[in-house]
Symmetry: C2
């Protein structure tokens, strides 16, 4: 491990649990073959690993029996498959949060050009600017004024860590028959997400963030009866003579060779999550987050935090009084403090927080951050004000 | 390593050079962060690795200065980005080979439905059925009779190893101003592919096959002035405030977090290729292929081989006299011989070879196969005829 003080876990968690590195390396060295119809023993083991990993994802989200897991190479790919695959007729009302990532925003911008979907200013789910709390009453009013067709909910902001009440919003949206999409890129594995309670049609997860798995594997959860159109066409290892994509899910959406090494890492990560305990991981990260906030409070910084700690995960964005964000970022980076400054691929969030276009300095934590790191961070920030 | 006799290298090469496993594991453990604008030292190292790997790909294909490398998560994704991104007007004449993989075939089938592209029987580039040799004179006649708009050339068949004369076909196609796409999934790193001689607009490669890299990384080579439309929309780490995709290449097509671990593996694989020598790898595989053919000749099998060995890579498809393909496959798999039977996601190839719908038993080799393995294979096949 390096001596970097790594506070860029919202970009990707690092380090991973040791088991994750080992599982990837061992499986790839000993079993690095192509899943699919080759029924020699190595291929069967690879297929079994993929199936077991799907089961672990079902367990993580407490999926009811009608749900299927589709693996993709990234959450961005998952978002594109879902958003581009919906049966758009034109002029649908699409509600989003202020905190969508460019994966969602750029995809919607494309759909606006193609299908003229409605993404007006009044289509942002209402959040109180002072408390950073979703306003469910006003959201109901929004839906009443303008019926939602599609509702996309960023579960937790990669900029400020604000958590959306997905259970309540999805229930409201479903009253109007809307298609509900929840982006759990920053929360899967960190928060309890119970798909027996959350009325979501599509739930997106990233392997390499709060699940503590590797790059190269992500996915979404979909109803087995979904009529989503494929975005990517290609071989799936089944029904090769058919030039149409299979109608079965997940095969319909999983083209090309599965990334068995990444799946081995995801598998180990999920087992680590369950053995460590999702709640324990959350509590540890919460503790570190409170400590981080205490450290930052000692300096003249503005932090963009929800007033209710229960709606917040370990991501703290701030600006330093009288000092430019990128200057702070450069100073910290030069002192081997890994933070990310700017807009974090989420320009709307910064517009909402009032930090556009300069952005913020973002500190983001994981289970593996320590008090010692925060003590060192405090000393380094103190130096900023000395110079 | 397992004791499996691995002859499924056309699905994915296995094992990889030791350096590839080590590089992936070391880089991911010590530097497994997100590339992009985070300019802390680990992120800079990750960015440098990506840039160096692009340079190695330029070198592999002897790219002229106007070419760019776009990384994707799979060759199938690359094919989809290219084929779906072309400026289709409708009713274009698309020429393909008899040996396209379902990545191409299913994508084209979708485009036929959307844009009514012409993919008639006369749009298959002519191959002599007896010699399995591309007929350049007849291909010129085909183009004369019906002007090509798009020509897609499978560089080497994943079913029978037939190599297409891409330099000559692309030159013919360019006389008619066609867009030329070459699928090098089975050849990049194995055959010399010189993009200063081959007039191709798009060249696709897979990391995990003949380049000896891992799953999760592939890509294509594109002209820096290409007007290809994006297929996937999302964050690229640059110009975050812009809801349109960047106009610069490769950023326009590379969305989401780069798979730095896979790129570390690809980097090590490319360095291994150059230090071992592409020609040496080819020669070793050729030698093993001739040995494999000798082994199979001892039994009553039909092999589907080009008459000119120079047009053939280490993939041998065969059928066993009076014995069903899947039965042979099962027998071999049970004896831990890794082969793949059936249609290999390339139904047209089997129609052309006359092996549809039963398919073939496919043996595919790599640099790491040995004479001892072939000796063992001979003994196991002998058992088939004893039982």
């Amino acid at each position: 491990m390096s001596r970097t003080l790594y506070f860029d876990n919202a970009a990707t968690t690092y380090p991973k649990p040791t088991d994750v590195y080992n599982a990837m390396n061992d499986f790839y060295m000993n079993n690095g073959v192509n899943v699919g119809r080759g029924q020699y023993s190595l291929a069967s083991k690879a297929s079994a690993l993929v199936n077991e990993t799907r089961e672990l994802i079902y367990k993580l989200f407490n999926c009811p029996a009608n749900k299927k897991v589709v693996f993709t190479s990234s959450a961005t790919e998952a978002i594109n498959i879902i958003l581009q695959g919906l049966p758009w007729q034109g002029e649908e009302n699409v509600y989003i949060t202020h905190f969508e990532h460019n994966g969602v925003l750029r995809c919607l911008n494309h759909l606006r050009e193609v299908h003229n979907i409605d993404l007006s200013n009044e289509n942002y789910l209402e959040v109180d600017r002072d408390t950073l709390c979703y306003d469910l009453e006003e959201i109901q009013n929004q839906f009443n004024r303008k019926k939602p067709n599609v509702v996309i909910i960023n579960h937790a902001s990669n900029v400020c860590g604000l958590v959306a009440p997905i259970e309540e919003i999805s229930r409201l949206a479903k009253k109007y028959g809307a298609t509900v999409i929840v982006d759990c890129a920053q929360t899967a594995g960190l928060l309890n997400i119970d798909l027996r309670k959350i009325m979501a049609d599509y739930v997106i997860f990233a392997g390499h963030k709060t699940i503590y798995g590797p790059f190269g594997i992500a996915g979404f959860i979909i109803d087995e009866k979904s009529q989503l159109k494929p975005l990517l066409y290609g071989g799936t290892g089944i029904d090769s003579a058919n030039l149409d994509m299979p109608t079965t899910i997940p095969e319909r959406f999983e083209v090309g060779s599965p990334n068995i090494q990444a799946i081995a890492g995801l598998n180990a990560a999920l087992k680590w999550l369950f053995s460590t305990g999702v709640n324990n991981i959350y509590e540890k990260e919460r503790e570190m987050t409170n400590e981080l906030i205490s450290v930052l409070k000692e300096f003249e910084v503005n932090m963009y935090l929800p007033s209710d700690e229960a709606n917040h995960i370990g991501i703290v964005s701030c600006t330093f009084k009288d000092l430019p964000t990128d200057g702070i970022g450069n100073f910290l980076n030069q002192h081997n403090v890994a933070v990310r400054t700017g807009l974090h691929c989420a320009p709307d969030a910064h517009r909402f927080l009032g930090t556009y276009p300069g952005g913020t300095v973002r500190f983001s934590l994981s289970y593996f951050n320590t008090n010692d790191q925060l003590t060192l961070l405090k000393e380094i920030i103190r130096d900023i004000y000395l110079y």
